[in-house]
Symmetry: C2
Subunit: 63 residues, 2 copies
Amino acid sequence: MCEASAYIIDGERQELIMEAVDSVEPEDGGYKLVNIFGEQKFIKGTIHSLSLVDHKIYLQKSA
Amino acid sequence: MCEASAYIIDGERQELIMEAVDSVEPEDGGYKLVNIFGEQKFIKGTIHSLSLVDHKIYLQKSA
């Protein structure tokens, strides 16, 4: 499986917010993350970057 | 390996722009895509959504 872990980046800090993320969909000025277990999380912000071989998604909260 | 294919979405249409994408990094009002072969492509736009289990990244060009 090729799901990834999602992190919020805040300066130097990275906070893991969800593991095994499958889909990331735009919603209400942010993104809805859904993992392979069907868990959902909404993040008000943007997708900062991806590193898929490392299985990582980086998001950034909007101010 | 868990790289993905990158598509530009334009209404109903999806255009494949790069296969085997590893990293997507913000750069100059857009994103630089790099695939596992070291090829690079710059897209002026935003990341629309992700479907990682399907190995798909969707981008949207800015107007």
